[in-house]
Symmetry: C2
Subunit: 249 residues, 2 copies
Amino acid sequence: MSENRKSPDLIVGVLGGMGPEATVDFMSEVIGLTDASRDQEHVRMIVDHNPQVPDRQAAMRGDPGPVRRTLADMARRLEAAGAHFLVMPCNTAHAFVGDAVAAVSVPFISIIDTTVQSIREQHPGIRRVGLLATDACIAAGVYQDALRRAGLELTLPDADAQRRSMELIFRVKSGDTGEAVRAAMREIAITLADAGAQAVIAGCTEIPLVLDAVRDGVALISSTRVLASRSVDYATGARALPTDNLTKR
Amino acid sequence: MSENRKSPDLIVGVLGGMGPEATVDFMSEVIGLTDASRDQEHVRMIVDHNPQVPDRQAAMRGDPGPVRRTLADMARRLEAAGAHFLVMPCNTAHAFVGDAVAAVSVPFISIIDTTVQSIREQHPGIRRVGLLATDACIAAGVYQDALRRAGLELTLPDADAQRRSMELIFRVKSGDTGEAVRAAMREIAITLADAGAQAVIAGCTEIPLVLDAVRDGVALISSTRVLASRSVDYATGARALPTDNLTKR
């Protein structure tokens, strides 16, 4: 017991439920990454676990309005409930986040920017990264923009591998995290390494549920874990919360 | 895919973080118990994951006011955020729930009452149940009252087993869910069966993290799973939400 350790100061607001297991995985990572020996030393999170946010893949092909408005409503509820900053453990949904960012006065910490910054900080020698993400996330270009700003080159799966990756992501969403799905996802990650990627971003929060490594010498960057780690840092004061909103840059 | 299945109607408000892993376990149970094949068919939960609720064991020995007021504040925030009913996946904290129940107009579903009702519904032949719970939960008498109303007899661990059970619960809270903890918890559960219990209630939400069975012929009743199952039933309309507040009875 460490009676003198103080409780983390800031409350994390989580726009969650996209998908359900990914949010639980994010929360588990926050708990596991917190240096705590009793309940009171853990980070407070207010989580709107809302799996009923409209389908993001369909919104990218059609009308993004309902997704954007739903995320803005969630952000407002979380701020009103007391959250000091907001995170959203879903990469694809970051394509629809503009209204949510505008709706609140607390910082909205981007999983995309945070993941790319983490590569620059943790793996400064890396020049080319592979990306596993949904079709909508890739179509939105959010990772492409962040990587370009960071001076990093990008390798995407070829069309066939991307199609298989999407099938696997939706199998995970339906609850299948079995060995066949794991092996198939890893095979796709290895094609990125074969094409020159020195690290692979698990840029969809379903992916770390079935992928924990690529191969020796190629780092796997879990966007879920990076966002969880950063959230713990902000909540505990180990890192200063930005005063500007990262996603407004 | 089941495009015609509708989304669950009601939002579950969760007073969580007591302990952190137990809340994540509760959410995983809700997700696993929901009949869904895509995100939108899952249950929406607004979770105040607040591990910083003051220590419940100390509050039972001293001043319960701060715990009671903290829970009431959490309940109000959850109602304001849109929750249609409230649950709290922590048995011990139910000793301090009066102010929270009084603070809101939505039903507060008791894990204690729900667990005891579940035994009557699922195991109607059972007359004597064992209880694994914290010292504070036992001192508060919440399970004793509910079991008496249901006409069920109670077996508690002897003083030495209860002391060991508390040590194990706090080892789980500190992150230790290893084989030694599992074996020791199961040994205590078996002493309850040996003393005549036909079922054993895991009446602390840390316990299902390290105990999944007692022995053949003796049911293990996870209060976490019972509350999760009931929450899914209410959210999806499979069971009508009570109009009166269960914990106000």
